[in-house]
């Protein structure tokens, strides 16, 4: 390769052709432009004359220059010019290519592969013994095998990044034991992150020879999740950009899509790493749906945070008296109200306290229970961070050792207080406004909420601190105390409507939501220790690009390993144990790698830019200009000016508005009926004649006045302006292109209708050619709703004429339209059901309607129908069907809506009577 400054030439010998340019100059100069063409009657006198001085006109200098430039550009292009070429040192000896294959390498994996492939190809050409070390942690830890480089290419091409960080074998010396003698040059295609064995390997490789490091091309960003009371995300990046975080999950229809975009907050820059907190500020309904968070525009496992129990719905255990069986008495059960309030936003677990504790809930709600058996375990659970919400009740009020009851935020007085009862003085109390800085801040203490009875707290100095909601007389309604890492909350009223109407107010739901939101999600590792779940089973695993796939061939992971983060035997993904699910996410803090003693390749130099294409394009452009110039010379100034104007118009990429077929414009203008061109001339002619006959009938009998029918080639025509398409089905009809089907589906969705006609009405009873296969083949890609034979009360049977049968040339075959909704019933006094709100997008039948409608150029029917008067009657009915169909297409269920006419008339009559 020849290198001149920043330019390199792969085939410098081609440049020697530039010597020929001066010669070319002379030749081109002598080559005249095309002669003028002159019409001249006196040619006869010129015949045989010889140019006395045949001195050619000189090519103008600018044309000459253009041609020379074109030739020079071609020569330069074929000499393989490269801008700032990569110079591979022509060293020999063994070569080791180390490829980081962790998730951080995923974003530009293809470029890395290309780079490695280039190096390997070069090494193969030079015959250097080469080894490839993939840092995916999956290679077997034996010594590296140095071999011919082209044997490694297959392995390189098959390599994929993994969803954990780059993992190199532990012992560099052992791995390099088989390295051939001589200085081992190393190319390290790095992902930019530090990883455990990197420093050791770097030292070992540096000892053996030069190490060249290819740093990553782009900034790295990673996302991680912080659990805790309010889980939040953290975005770390090696640049200052703050891309949005997408919250992805199934929408209410179950379709996976972006549910929300989270905007990272202000970050801090530390040592080149920008860290930004991302609050998960989503409504509970939305948040519970999120299955993953992903950095927008990043495709690697580190940019994905799979949502697990920490982000998910809180699991709430309900403990109380079992429901009474009778339906009416359910309303007396406290659990009923709790269930109604919590079910939309949380997962509920019900049962005895022991069962509930086994389910590892985030919140336990205990309604009016004392002397609970597993009180010790419960206390332990609260101490570890559980949120216990207790409700008072008659049982608690009647409990004689209430003062000793553990797990209460305040000491309670035995016996409750009745306010506003039959035997008490006061009125039921309302709520005091919530404290502005408390947990319920912002909620409105509704005046409708009245408390008739409550449990009273023993006066204590810290009582007011523990009170988070109070009645208007400052007596506590809700108290809270932190116990260990958890908290205990007591509602001093019942969870049913017995003591207060709070549980039947919306405020109750909001208060519970607030409380539960403070519950810490159950920490997985702690919970896993004391439960009998030593292994976690992978459910969903991520690959290095952050794509999720079902877990296959991945062994269950011991709970202890899970805390170590993703690794070779535990890819990032969702792991489940029992009911609990925990996500193993790849992203985390970024530690940039440092490369002491290695040659770090500058990114700008890393890839030379191939100029060949550019030069070839330039040559083509110059030649085009040359053609224009020559034309201008030959044709004179006016043409040249025109061409220049045309040239000026050329670069504008704007394309004129899409040209519509004038035939289609006419069709839209005249409501012309359209038919699909099948390629069978006879069928097409019949379609044309049939629609012409129907158009004529419509013109004569209705206010629809269609123009001449339009032939539609599905592969090219724009259907958007059509309303009705007649599609005769033939056996050997080619299927339209996928684009055509897209247009057809759009046509159907936007209110168009296709009348499929298999034309094979079995009139003789001997069974004709059955087109159902062809129909199935043609219509399969269409979005056709469920079909049913036209019911008797379908609006198509009365949109213009009242019809019983829908005959064409044949009769008695069922005609299929969109099925009516299940369970549609006729309204009283109306002889038909309200069906098909909208127009059936397809009508399918076999009656060969076009043949019944067809009229020839003289206005006579083209095909005979039946025999004599009967046949003519059938033709008439076929026309009536066509008219009904067109009315149905054009007016929809308008006729169906006419059932309301009597009611409207009635109303008018009443208004008339009431009016003056």
């Amino acid at each position: 390769m020849l290198v001149l400054g920043p330019l390199g030439f792969a085939a410098p010998w081609v440049l020697s052709a530039l010597i020929a340019l001066p010669v070319l100059w002379l030749i081109l100069r002598a080559m005249p432009p095309a002669p003028r063409l002159v019409a001249f009657p006196g040619v006869a006198l010129l015949r045989g004359l010889i140019d006395r001085t045949p001195v050619a006109r000189r090519t103008p200098w600018w044309l000459l220059l253009l041609r020379m430039m074109a030739v020079a550009a071609l020569i330069l292009a074929f000499s393989g010019p490269v801008w700032k070429p990569v110079l591979q040192p022509p060293d020999s000896g063994p070569l080791l290519v180390v490829m980081d294959a962790g998730w951080a390498a995923a974003p530009d994996w293809a470029a890395r592969q290309t780079r490695a492939e280039r190096v390997l190809s070069g090494a193969a050409a030079q015959g250097r013994p080469t080894a490839l070390l993939l840092g995916d942690g999956l290679t077997d830890p034996g010594p590296l095998r140095f071999a011919s480089a082209d044997t490694l290419l297959a392995g390189l091409r098959a390599a994929q990044p993994v969803s954990w960080q780059t993992t190199l074998p532990d012992d560099p010396q052992a791995a390099l034991a088989d390295a051939p003698d001589g200085a081992l040059s190393t190319l390290w295609i790095a992902d930019g992150l530090d990883h455990p064995n990197r420093a050791g390997w770097l030292a070992a490789l540096s000892d053996r020879g030069p190490v060249t490091v290819v740093p990553p091309a782009r900034a790295l960003r990673a996302l991680s999740l912080h659990g805790g009371d309010t889980p939040s995300l953290t975005l770390v990046a090696t640049d200052d950009a703050a891309p949005a975080i997408l919250a992805i999950g199934p929408d209410p229809q179950g379709v996976e899509r972006d549910l929300a975009r989270l905007v990272p907050g202000q970050g801090s820059l530390d040592n080149g790493i920008a860290t930004r907190p991302v609050a998960i500020d989503l409504p509970p309904e939305l948040r519970n749906r999120v299955t993953r968070f992903q950095i927008e525009g990043e495709t690697h496992a580190g940019a994905v945070v799979l949502a697990d129990d920490r982000v998910k719905r809180r699991k709430v255990g309900l403990v109380g008296d079992p429901d009474r069986q009778a339906e009416g008495q359910q309303l007396l059960s406290p659990l009923y109200y709790l269930r109604r309030a919590l079910a939309p936003t949380t997962d509920l677990v019900e049962g005895g306290l022991g069962d509930v504790l086994n389910a590892a809930p985030d919140v336990i709600i205990v309604a009016d229970q004392v002397e609970m058996a597993e009180i010790g375990e419960l206390a332990e659970w609260v101490d570890e961070g559980g949120l216990l919400i207790r409700f008072a009740g008659p049982r608690m009020a009647a409990y004689d050792r209430l003062i000793d009851e553990p797990l209460l935020p305040v000491m309670l007085r035995q016996g409750g207080r009745d306010i506003g009862g039959a035997l008490s003085w006061g009125d039921p109390r309302g709520l005091a406004p919530f404290a502005g800085d408390g947990i319920f801040a912002g909620l409105t203490a509704s005046a409708d909420v009245l408390v008739r009875a409550q449990l009273m707290a023993q006066p204590a100095p810290d009582l007011s601190d523990r009170t988070i909601a109070a009645l208007s007389d400052k007596t506590p309604l809700v108290t809270r105390e932190r116990l260990g890492q958890g908290q205990v909350v007591l509602f001093h009223v019942t969870a049913n409507a017995e003591w207060s109407n709070l549980p039947i107010s919306g405020l109750f739901v909001e208060m519970l939501d607030r409380l539960i939101a403070t519950a810490r999600a159950s920490p997985s590792d702690e919970a896993s220790d004391d439960r009998d779940q030593p292994f976690w089973t992978p459910r969903i695993v991520l690959d290095g690009f952050g794509r999720a796939s079902p877990a296959e061939d991945v062994a269950p992971v011991p709970a202890s390993d899970l805390a170590l983060g993703p690794g070779p035997d535990r890819p990032a993904g969702i792991y489940a144990a029992g009911d609990r699910r925990v996500a193993l996410n790849a992203g985390g803090a970024l530690t940039p790698a440092a490369w002491p003693g290695a040659i770090v390749e500058s990114r700008a130099l890393a890839s030379g830019r191939d100029l060949q294409g550019l030069l070839l394009a330039a040559a083509a452009l110059i030649l085009a200009l040359d053609a224009l110039g020559s034309a201008a010379l030959a044709r004179g100034g006016r043409l040249a000016a025109m061409l220049m104007i045309a040239l000026a118009g050329l670069p504008s990429p704007r394309v004129a508005a899409q040209e519509l077929d004038p035939e289609l414009i006419r069709a839209a203008d005249e409501v012309a009926l359209a038919y699909v061109v099948t390629g069978d001339d006879e069928v097409d002619q019949t379609s044309y004649e049939g629609l012409r006959g129907l158009s004529l009938a419509l013109r004569q009998r209705t206010s629809v006045e269609p123009g001449a029918p339009v032939a539609i080639d599905l592969d090219s025509a724009d259907l958007s302006v059509l309303t009705f398409l007649y599609w005769p089905v033939t056996a050997d009809q080619p299927s339209p292109s996928p684009q055509a089907y897209m247009r057809l589906n759009h046509f159907l969705r936007s209110g168009g209708m296709i009348l499929f006609d298999t034309r094979d009405g079995d009139v003789a009873g001997v069974g004709g050619p059955d087109m159902s296969d062809a129909l199935r083949r043609l219509a399969a890609p269409l979005e056709v709703p469920p079909l049913a034979p036209v019911p008797d009360d379908h609006v198509m049977t009365r949109s213009f004429y009242l019809l019983g049968d829908l005959p064409g040339r044949w009769r008695g075959n069922p005609v299929w339209v969109e099925a009516p909704p299940a369970g549609a019933e006729a309204a009283e006094g109306v002889p038909f059901r309200q069906l098909n709100d909208g127009v059936s997008p397809v009508v399918i039948g076999a009656n060969s309607w076009a043949e019944a409608w067809a009229i020839d150029d003289n206005g006579y029917p083209s095909f005979p129908i039946g025999r004599g008067w009967e046949g003519e009657r059938q033709r008439e009915l076929a026309f009536r069907f066509g008219i009904n169909l067109m009315m149905y297409v054009l007016t929809g269920n308008y006729k169906s809506d006419q059932v309301h006419v009597p009611a409207l008339l009635d109303r008018l009559r009443v208004e008339e009577e009431l009016g003056p």
Partner: protein, 293 residues
């Protein structure tokens, strides 16, 4: 009707009607031209039927008694017959080349050679008609009277274009003692001129050869690399130096004219040439004088 090998009379009429869209202009301009030339007395300088006295001659056998001028005869013994100068109108034939080369015009503001030639022919025909001559297109019957002018105009316009660059009159259509006016560009092979003139000599037909040329054909204002193509495209001439051909071309043109002039004078005909950028009146009066003489 040699010059109208039309498929059917209906078609011919239809084409005439289409062509006569601009007929009035042609007629008018022709009339204006014709008015410039005073039709002079135009005796045939021999005895024959006519108005004017020509001579007294002794009666001979065959003269009827009615033809004897008794007043002159009374003065002497012999009987004399009073001859009048023959004034029988002469038949004149007009022929305009219908070759495609005649459709050439070097500049958009000049008429084509064919248009100019037809204009000259019609104007001359009108002058002759006003002089009492019988005029007709060559091959068609010559008639007198004003109505013949319309027929002439129609015939000129309706004449079909020849397939070739040039066109030649058929010598077989000549009639004895007629006057013939040939309007053409004489650029192609003029061999037919010799044949025509020879035949005319035997029939006593005299006439005029009029060469109508475009100024571009007279001056040859071309230069540079030019491909010359005849209007039908049958003839081509490639030139790399058109300006260098000018001398040779003009020499050949002059040679052609000399040849034509020699042929014409040899047969007692006249030869003239006209450029379409000159006023047609000049050519018309020349024609008139030549025919009169």
């Amino acid at each position: 009707m040699t010059s109208s090998p039309a498929d059917s009379p209906v078609e011919l009429r239809a084409r005439s009607e289409a062509a006569s869209a601009h007929l009035p202009g042609l007629v008018l301009s022709a009339e204006r031209l014709a008015a410039l030339v005073a039709p002079g007395a135009h005796g045939l300088r021999r005895a024959g039927p006519g108005e004017d006295f020509w001579q007294y001659r002794p009666a001979s056998h065959g003269d009827t008694a009615r033809s004897i001028d008794w007043r002159r005869s009374a003065r002497s013994d012999a009987q004399f017959v009073r001859d009048r100068e023959a004034q029988t109108a002469q038949a004149a034939g007009l022929w305009v080349s219908a070759g495609q080369g005649m459709d050439y015009s070097g500049a958009p503001d000049r008429p084509t050679k064919g248009a100019r030639a037809r204009l000259l022919a019609l104007a001359l025909g009108m002058v002759l008609l006003r002089g009492g001559e019988k005029v007709g297109l060559l091959g068609q019957p010559a008639r007198a009277g004003r109505a013949q002018a319309d027929r002439l105009a129609q015939g000129l316009i309706a004449a079909p274009r020849a397939q070739d660059d040039s066109d030649a009159p058929s010598a077989a259509t000549l009639r004895p003692n007629m006057r013939l006016v040939i309007l053409s560009d004489f650029l192609s092979d003029p061999g037919w001129v010799q044949a025509l003139l020879a035949r005319a000599g035997t029939l006593g037909v005299r006439g005029v050869l009029m060469q109508v040329l475009d100024p571009d054909e007279e001056n040859f204002p071309f230069a540079g690399a030019v491909v010359f193509r005849s209007l039908t495209g049958r003839l081509r001439h490639d030139s790399r130096d058109a300006a260098g051909l000018r001398e040779a071309y003009l020499t050949r043109l002059a040679e052609r004219r000399d040849w034509l002039r020699a042929q014409a004078s040899g047969a007692g005909w006249h030869f003239g040439h006209h450029a379409t950028d000159h006023a047609p009146a000049v050519a018309l009066s020349w024609l008139y004088q030549v025919l009169e003489g």
